[in-house]
């Protein structure tokens, strides 16, 4: 099918990999996933929604096809007629070469953007099944190497990109000094716990300063904490369920430790999905604090009048980060903020829930061998934004921003992506 050689972690016999893949997949399985698995009618319409299929025309990128080995395993091991499937040999056992072949499909060509779930006439949440399938792949040691390495580093060091607590502390101190702004760190008690993504700590440090300035502006009682600051979750992206939990628990414990009523997530997409929607399930109880994406926090602050903004006389178009907008439900918050900024909003087509993914989410931007595919997808975004005629492309996810920056460099595009957070910070009416 493809010439890509799969990455393998660990030394294990093929049979063991298959067994572990099946274990990983079925362990967290349930009624919902079973209903989805039973419902596919092979209509192929999900392909029409997927940017990877859209830009290549290659049928193997059909979303439901990406989970085919797991559908096979489900029917054989767990479905209502599983014993018959096994006894009569109606579904073959998944093989290791099959799983290796599928690594490319499950990771390189899926950003878990959820457009397919939105399209499916049967209502199957295909994107959700991809995440379930990744559990199997991670257990079997079949994760693309950069993604696996980042996840391992994140679990071990506290950050996938080397922004360890030590590095984080140093950065905060340096930024506070450089920009002459107070950045509270490790306060014993605070109403608001703010978190960041390693991309911001290592690359878009202006976002950290922006956050500090805005928190001061609205008069928030807030802090960062070195025992819980990393909002990205490479456990989630790679499919390692245990690491996903570990990473989420750090944030949760830190919020509880300082008695925070609100936990603010940074401009990061999957961080929102990980904590806002999956956090409580990792914790095993409802969370004792609210979880807000920074764009939601900004929208609330604008509504309450706490956020006073200068009018920005420019036209803008908003790129919806998939995990916040389509999958997460915070579609309007960024638009409320843009309205508060007074920009002329020129929506791209499609937009909001049906907007095209930037192509870098779900861990794809970390996978080197997926670059060529990702650039093809990026063309869709460039055309979308060019067509609006807007001056400022804006988004609220650092991974999207990183993808846009990389795409811009590759294509020598004449437009740069802007961070909503930084735009707000740049236009505060200071007292």
């Amino acid at each position: 099918m493809s010439a890509i050689v799969a990455d393998r972690q660990g030394e294990m016999p093929d049979a063991e990999r298959v067994a572990k893949a099946t274990q990983g997949f079925l362990r967290d399985f349930g009624r919902t996933a079973a209903i989805y698995m039973e419902s596919c009618i092979h209509c192929g319409m999900c392909a029409e929604a997927c940017h990877f299929y859209e830009v290549t025309g290659d049928p193997k990128y059909t979303p439901i096809w990406k989970i085919e080995p797991f559908k096979q395993a489900y029917k054989r091991e767990y479905g209502p007629f599983a014993p018959f499937y096994r006894m009569l040999g109606l579904k073959r056992e998944v093989t290791e070469p099959q799983l290796e072949e599928w690594q490319h499909l499950l990771y390189d060509s899926c950003t878990v953007c959820g457009r397919c779930s939105l399209m499916c006439p049967m209502g199957i949440d295909i994107a959700g099944l991809i995440s379930d399938a990744r559990h199997g792949m991670a257990r079997a040691g079949l994760v693309p190497k950069e993604l696996g390495e980042a996840a391992e580093r994140g679990e071990r060091e506290g950050s996938p990109l080397g922004a360890t607590p030590k590095v984080f502390k140093e950065r905060i101190a340096w930024l506070a000094d450089e920009h002459e702004i107070q950045i509270p760190l490790d306060r014993g008690k605070a109403e608001v716990l703010c978190t960041l993504s390693s991309i911001e700590i290592m690359k878009y440090t202006a976002s950290i300063v922006a956050m500090a300035r805005i928190m001061k502006h609205v008069g928030a009682d807030w802090t960062f904490r070195t025992d819980g600051y990393e909002a990205t979750n490479f456990g989630l992206l790679s499919g390692n369920a245990q690491w996903q939990k570990d990473m989420s628990m750090k944030l949760i414990d830190a919020a509880i430790a300082c008695g925070a009523k609100t936990l603010v997530l940074p401009e990061c997409g999957h961080a929102y999905g990980a904590l806002r929607w999956m956090g409580a399930n990792m914790y095993g109880k409802p969370l004792p604090f609210r979880v807000l994406h920074i764009s939601e926090f900004l929208a609330e602050s604008a509504r309450s009048g706490k956020l006073r903004l200068k009018k920005l006389a420019k036209s803008a178009t908003f790129h919806d980060p998939c995990q916040i907008s389509r999958r997460g439900g915070a579609v309007e918050a960024p638009r409320e903020v843009l309205a508060a900024l007074g920009v002329e909003l020129k929506e791209m087509f499609p937009t909001k829930g049906t907007n095209w993914c930037c192509g870098g989410g779900g861990g794809v931007v970390a996978i080197r061998r997926a670059d060529a595919l990702r650039y093809k997808v990026f063309k869709l975004k460039m055309d979308q934004i060019d067509d609006t005629g807007a001056e400022l492309p804006v988004t609220s996810c650092s991974n999207c921003r990183q993808t846009f920056d990389d795409g811009q460099a590759h294509f020598k595009w004449d437009k740069s992506m802007n961070s909503l957070l930084e735009l707000v910070a740049d236009n505060l009416i200071e007292a």
Partner: protein, 349 residues
């Protein structure tokens, strides 16, 4: 044996009347009209054959149908033209004398007589449920068939088993063709058969000296080749979707199709819709009652006469209830096994 032609002349039937009869007979047998003279010639020359009529588990309805008339009819002519040497209802003799007449005819016309049978034959318990003169019907039939030129099973009982064979068939009733294997058997079903169909079959045999073309059920194609539905005058209403819902509603009064009231016309082969009954007076559908399907095998056991053809025997509520319980139990068991497998996989970590 004198010829039929001689007998006719002797009984005062004019040549003209005879030719009229033969023309009608020709068309009845679905032969080309040009064949009428040939039919006339053949019939005139035919030897007056011996006919032995055996009545077994029957209601005498077939005989009633055949003899129903108030004026000379084709049916009567035929009965007069054959030498009916044995018939329980119509013969004058009885008891040992009647049996002696039968045995005599069988001996004298060995290999040439026509054996007509109405009623089914009970076979259970050594055939004791039907006997006369101390002999079982089974034995009588088998003995009588030995020397017959051909056997005609008159009516649905003789052709397919009829009412006696209906569930639970306590006497082990069976049709003639089940017991007579080495002679040609013509089935003339109907409950009863149309008079002129019976005589038409006989006439064909008399004319051509061989049995007519039969369908897969052994029925003469000339009379049983089409379904009632295909010739029903109410067919346009079926096609238009105009169905009577009760026996006296507006639709019924307007002569609409009787499908919903249980008419089995679509699957019943007979000549009722064209030839009709009582010299072409009417037939069940014309009188407002659906066809019972009485010329088809086992029509007594094919569901209610008043339930539409499409309401098949799908079982009953109780069976479906049991099926539902089985399905629920199996599904629950499958889910339980699935959960257990999941737990086991979880423990393996």
């Amino acid at each position: 044996m004198t010829t039929l032609g001689d007998s006719l002349l002797a009984s005062g039937v004019s040549r003209r009347a005879f030719l009229k009869f033969c023309t009608a007979l020709t068309s009845l047998m679905a032969l080309p009209p040009g064949m009428a003279p040939a039919v006339a010639q053949a019939l005139a020359r035919a030897k007056r054959p011996s006919v032995i009529w055996l009545s077994f588990q029957e209601c005498t309805g077939c005989t009633e149908s055949l003899t129903r008339s108030t004026s000379p009819t084709l049916e009567n002519l035929i009965l007069d033209l054959v030498s009916l040497d044995y018939h329980h209802t119509l013969q004058a003799a009885s008891g040992f004398a009647a049996e002696a007449a039968r045995e005599h005819a069988m001996k004298e016309f060995d290999g040439k007589y026509l054996l007509l049978v109405d009623g089914s034959i009970p076979t259970s318990d050594g055939g004791i449920y039907g006997t006369w003169g101390g002999e079982s019907f089974v034995d009588i039939l088998q003995q009588s068939a030995k020397g017959a030129a051909a056997v005609v099973a008159i009516g649905s009982c003789a052709s397919f088993g009829g009412l006696p064979k209906a569930n639970p068939n306590p006497t082990g009733a069976r049709p003639v063709s089940d017991l007579v294997k080495d002679k040609p058997v013509i089935n003339v079903p109907g409950c009863p058969p149309i008079a002129v169909v019976m005589t038409g079959v006989l006439a064909h045999y008399l004319t051509f000296g061989r049995i007519p073309e039969l369908d897969a059920q052994g029925r003469p194609l000339a009379f049983y080749g089409e379904t009632i539905h295909d010739r029903c005058y109410r067919r346009p209403f079926y096609d238009q979707g105009k169905f009577a819902k009760t026996f006296d509603d507006e639709g019924a009064r307007s002569g609409w199709c009787l499908y919903e009231l249980g008419c089995k016309g679509p699957i019943t082969h007979n000549a009722c819709a064209t030839v009709k009954w009582n010299a072409g007076t009417s037939f069940p559908i014309q009188s407002g009652h659906g066809c019972l399907g009485c010329s088809e095998p086992d029509f007594w056991d094919k569901g209610s006469f008043y339930k539409a053809l499409s309401t098949a025997e799908w079982g009953d509520a109780k069976t479906l209830g049991v099926a539902a319980a089985v399905g629920v139990a199996a599904g629950a068991a499958a889910a339980y096994l699935g959960r257990r497998r999941q737990d086991r996989i979880g423990k393996e970590d």
